[in-house]
């Protein structure tokens, strides 16, 4: 049987490709892209206010609410602003670490650092946010550490959201910058030094321009992840972000939740178009 099947495929590359791709393409195109299409369509549905039933017709009600209600404009504005702040913060924090890993550390040190950055990136998202909740609370580590200095921590609020998200997405920024810096040939840096440039000039005129697309690549992740997160705002603030409103509407107004879910998609598409112009795609 397997022999006969094998003979069928032998010398028929198109048949082989078809057989290999049927499953994955079926799953991802019909299942996943299909779901995204449903999301797009559902954004134009409405909910009957009396029965709570979903009415499947073409209506711009949800989009109008999003555009016209000041509260949603504020929430979208707040989310995008925090996303931008988190991105800048992470770029500033990540660069020295990535630079040390790529250009200064020994071979062994480099291996250890990569693992050290990699492990927390992959795991325990919820546990990390929860830990920050305990740290930022009234009796938490932060207030305890700052008390001798006569200071106290930011408590819960927008500052906490900014801090925690910068923390959560930092490894996503470190790794692309590290990879980007690794690709800069040492000879370029030596050449700059031999030609008399100070380390600062070398950094500003040689390293930074070459690493910039990698920073943009990292920013795609910090930006996208911030736009979609609703758990961090829930745990360390009382403020609403796009994700919270989607979450709150999912059970009683699915069409409105769908319309709102289009906002991160639209913002990300715009962001990606800019990122592509800046040459970030080679660094992902």
């Amino acid at each position: 049987m397997s022999r006969r099947l094998a003979n069928l495929f032998h010398g028929r590359p198109h048949l082989q490709v078809g057989a290999l791709l049927a499953g994955p393409i079926g799953w991802l195109v019909i299942g996943y892209l299909g779901s995204l299409l449903v999301l797009l369509i559902a954004a134009f549905w409405t909910v009957d206010p009396l029965s709570g039933e979903v009415i499947r017709g073409l209506s711009f009600e949800n989009i109008e609410t999003l555009v016209n209600e000041p509260v949603y404009r504020t929430i979208i504005g707040r989310t995008v602003l925090i996303a931008a702040l988190v991105t800048v913060t992470d770029a500033v924090l990540a660069f020295p670490i990535a630079f040390y890993m790529a250009k200064v550390a020994s071979r062994r040190g480099k291996a250890v650092l990569v693992v050290a950055v990699l492990l927390p990136l992959w795991s325990s998202y919820l546990v990390k946010v929860y830990s920050w909740r305990t740290m930022l609370g009234a009796g938490g580590v932060i207030n305890w550490a700052l008390a001798p200095l006569g200071l106290h921590g930011p408590g819960f609020g927008n500052t906490a959201v900014w801090l925690v998200m910068s923390y959560l997405w930092l490894p996503y920024m470190i790794l692309p910058i590290y990879a980007g810096l690794e690709r800069i040939p040492g000879s370029l840096i030596s050449a700059s030094e031999d030609l008399g440039a100070s380390p600062f000039t070398t950094f500003r005129r040689v390293i930074l321009p070459l690493a910039f697309p990698a920073v943009v690549a990292g920013s795609i992740f910090t930006f996208a992840l911030t736009l979609g997160d609703y758990i961090t705002p829930r745990l360390v603030s009382n403020n609403q972000f796009i994700g919270n409103v989607i979450f709150n509407n999912i059970s009683n107004n699915l069409p409105f939740a769908s319309a709102l879910a289009l906002v991160p998609i639209v913002v990300m598409v715009a962001y990606l178009l800019v990122a592509r112009r800046l040459g970030a795609f080679e660094h992902i």
Binding site: S123, L126, W132
Partner: protein
Amino acid sequence: MRLSRRSALLLRGAVAVGLAFIYVPLIVIAIYAFNSSNVLEWPPPGLTLDWFPKAFESESVREALLTSVKAGVVATTIALILGTLASLAVARHRFFGRETISFLVILPIALPGIVTGVALSNTFTQVLGVELSLLTVIVGHATFCIVVVYNNVVARLRRVSGSFEEASADLGAHTWQTFRFVTVPSLKTALAAGALLAFALSFDEIIVTTFTIGAGEETLPIWIFSRLFRPNQLPIVNVVAVLVVLISIIPVYLAHRLTREEGGAAAARGGRAERAGRMEGGGVEVEATAVP
């Protein structure tokens, strides 16, 4: 690069601060798991092991652990099959639309989890009329885990030359024999690494899970989340939190070890694609991949 002593010192300081920033929250929660008081105040008044047996005795913790493991194992199996098939097609064949495949595979993890969650939930409940359950969670998890397997296997296939497979065919092996005796052995560690990472990703996931899970069912992250706002539950939550960290961190470390020996130092690639499992191979190599 030549650095002055002062700037080298400054740089070291920055790295130390950055690493401390990354690890302090994980250490804090690990210490709280041994907190003798049931109030979360720093510093803890004393240390105790009492919460560990209490956590393991809890019926709901055991059930949630079982649910998480089931979801992780089945989602990983699906991702392993679909990811390997897609990578074989992309790495060993030329066909129209080949470039779009990696874009398609990465999309579920490149879009915010909440978008994937709402989209799948919409489709299940409104279009297919399926009741949300563990099965719908598995579908969601498998969707974003495919990329992990795919990236690992594609990277390996690019490294292992296709001429081995050609040689096998020339020597008279038929397609299946070549696959079984030539392709699979060369992919073994890449498949294992992909599976470990997919499992870790699934085990840790909460957002897509929240939107696709049925009423009354809980994975471990959902278990934690639903108890965070009940102060009397927090000592056990801390223990479960440490458990979740360990169960997700250990597979990642193992996967790293598995793919490391091939090329020396460390394996890591950029960004979210990193998370998406491109740990394959040695030094950092960033390839242009069609990401949205």
